[in-house]
């Protein structure tokens, strides 16, 4: 099953099982079924609860907020993550505030699905990774599954078990990826897979290691669309330099699943944090600060952050490749750490 199919199946199940679930967004009706096909088939099966909208990102977010306040469970698609700037006010000054500011008289169980990321040549306004703008917004949850997670399960959990505004980040490049399945000995490809915080809060962190019983030398923490590059980099440093990396793929960006991350960091003392978004004040900035505080004595060298360079995302692929972080950048960071 592919990443987008998993999400699509989850939406079908959610709508089938709970008639409070409404799916909304631009161009989501069949036969088109949404820009990335995640909503395919919904309008045929649930015509009254699949609402295609005008091109009015701010207002449809507001409408979804209002619906959530009255006991419905809207799942809103923002066609491109770049357009979250248009819904920033509805999110920051309404959705996340209402529960607390109105002294818990209302809640806003709203899930906003946001395709983020570049590497498709869409250019400056259709390629960004903007979730870090919202990392500091009180009252917001941010979830971003990779293809090592089960994105459909996470979406189901987000819609059915969640009582606050939640941003669900889907990296565009992951949509066609096959979900990774773990074999009988707990491996996927060359990696041993462990699921941390096993369902504890519904948003597990995945751990990947090339060796089962050997302690890792470096902890590489990343998420979402960076997962394939992390795999590539971990393989490369192992093959070329026998460096053993543990990859951690949290599915929750906010709150940070610190408990899932600390044990590995305390073992290795060497950490690379990688994200597709801009490095400055990115997700990794918070993570590095938290690790600095909570694993100060175990850190053997500075946390290395890998992220995009501070430019718009160009359309030209060779140029985009220079700006967005890839496996080579991770390899470089790991090598740097091992030099210490």
């Amino acid at each position: 099953m592919r990443y987008f199919e998993s999400l699509n199946a989850a939406l079908h199940q959610l709508m089938r099982e709970d008639e409070r679930v409404y799916v909304m967004g631009e161009d989501i009706l069949d036969p088109y079924g949404g820009a990335f096909k995640v909503t395919k088939g919904l309008s045929e099966s649930f015509p009254g609860r699949t609402l295609t909208t005008p091109v009015s990102e701010a207002a449809i977010t507001g409408i979804a907020i209002g619906m959530a306040m009255r006991g419905l469970k809207p799942v809103l698609e923002i066609m491109f993550g770049d357009f979250v700037t248009l819904i920033a006010d509805q999110l920051v000054n309404s959705a996340v505030k209402f529960n607390w500011m109105y002294n818990h008289q209302v809640s806003v169980p709203l899930v906003i699905r946001v395709p983020m990321g570049g590497r498709r040549g869409y250019g400056p306004t259709h390629s960004q990774t903007l979730e870090s703008m919202f990392m500091g917004v009180p009252g917001l949850k941010i979830i971003a599954p990779s293809h090592y997670h089960n994105p459909g399960d996470l979406l189901k959990y987000a819609v059915s078990k969640n009582n606050q505004p939640l941003m669900f980040i889907e990296n565009k490049r992951l949509y066609p990826q096959k979900l990774v399945t773990v074999d009988s000995v707990g491996k996927a490809g060359d990696f041993y897979i462990k699921q941390l915080a096993n369902g504890e809060n519904g948003y597990p962190t995945i751990s990947l290691s090339l060796m089962k019983n050997e302690p890792p030398q470096v902890t590489l923490i990343t998420y979402g669309g960076m997962a394939p590059f992390a795999i590539e980099a971990a393989m490369e440093v192992f093959m070329n330099e026998e460096i053993l990396v543990e990859i951690l793929l949290p599915s929750a960006l906010k709150p940070l699943p610190v408990k899932d991350i600390l044990p590995s960091v305390r073992t290795t003392g060497k950490v690379v944090v990688a994200e597709e978004g801009v490095k400055t004040s990115g997700w990794g900035a918070e993570l590095a600060s938290v690790l600095n505080k909570n694993a100060f004595n175990q850190l053997k060298c500075p946390v290395e952050r890998v992220g995009a360079k501070e430019f718009p995302i160009p359309s030209s692929m060779p140029l985009e490749k220079e700006i967005l972080p890839g496996a080579e950048d991770i390899v470089e960071a790991i090598t740097l750490l091992m030099g210490d």
Partner: protein
């Protein structure tokens, strides 16, 4: 109406005495609107108000004590002191401080009721200034397309803060709604009985035919925008003082009734004010543990 007026007068005094937090926007002079609109609504109907919300709130709930408490920042205020003057919520009443942002939210709440099969409708209050916000037009398009039974009430008091209407507003109020095929009406009167009559059919139509309507009420605020200075021309204020909704209504009441109303309102408000003063202040520990999403761990 009298309750609202006397409440607001007290609010201004309390500010002067430093008993209130933040700022406030009084409704003095516009009271007929709230009374005329809200008395047509049922308890299940949704009201979304704006920064100038005391009048709407009091007409809706009569809860002067809660509002005093809220404005004094008290734990037993409407929202536990969290919202303050312009961020209120009780039952089906809401307000928020970002102009225009309330429009789609009110529409969404109303839509939800419609989808759930309730016959509740919604009412949204906006000022002339708020019509500067684009999200209002996104909402007009949507409520028209989706036949959302929302009444948008524009209270045009000819100013957005200090900016006169003709400096911030081009064109016509009602045409702005009609361009989206929403029926639009306007009244220019502070006569609460006249307004009440005029609005009756409109609310009825919204509920029966499940469609939005747009209602423009031209009026005037007789006090400053908030607590501060008022730079409007004196003769303009004077002109409108003659049309004070209380002045229009008073001659229609028997004088002993008017007098006893004044007494009653005074009693109620004194009691409410005193009760609010007695309320404790909130504190974070009592009100809520630090939420789950603040996960930075304690130091080893």
């Amino acid at each position: 109406m009298l309750l609202v007026r006397r409440f607001e007068e007290r609010v201004l005094q309390l500010f002067t005495r430093g008993e209130l937090f933040g700022t406030t926007h009084t409704y003095i002079g516009q009271e007929a609107n709230a009374v005329a609109v809200l008395n047509h609504l049922e308890e299940r109907d949704i009201v979304f108000s704006n920064h100038r919300c005391h009048g709407h709130y009091l007409v809706r709930t009569g809860d002067a004590e809660g509002l005093f408490g809220e404005m004094m920042g008290k734990a037993e205020g409407i929202c536990g002191g969290r919202g303050g003057s312009q961020h209120l919520c009780r039952d089906n009443f809401f307000s928020n401080g970002i102009l225009g942002s309330t429009a789609p939210i009110a529409a969404g709440m109303t839509l939800a009721e419609k989808l759930k099969g309730s016959d509740a409708i919604g009412a949204l209050f906006l000022g002339d200034g708020a019509l500067g916000e684009g999200i209002v037009y996104e909402t007009l398009n949507l409520i028209s397309l989706w036949k959302i039974p929302l009444l948008i009430v524009v209270e045009n008091n000819y100013y957005a803060q200090t900016t006169p209407l003709k400096t911030h507003f081009a064109g016509s109020f009602t045409d702005r709604a009609k361009a989206f095929h929403i029926e639009a009406d306007e009244f220019k009167s502070n006569d609460v009985e006249f307004l009440y009559e005029g609005i009756s059919d409109i609310v009825e139509d919204i509920r029966r035919n499940q469609r939005p309507r747009f209602l423009v009420l031209h009026t005037y605020r007789l006090s400053a925008h908030s607590k501060g200075d008022d730079f409007r021309p004196a003769d303009e204020i004077k002109h409108w003082t003659e049309k004070d909704p209380l002045k229009i209504l008073k001659p229609r009441l028997k004088s002993n009734i008017a007098e006893s109303l004044e007494q009653e309102v005074k009693r109620v408000l004194s009691y409410a004010e005193e009760a609010a003063r007695e309320m404790p202040f909130p504190s974070l520990n009592e009100s809520q543990p630090q939420p789950e999403y603040c996960l930075e761990m304690v130091r080893q």
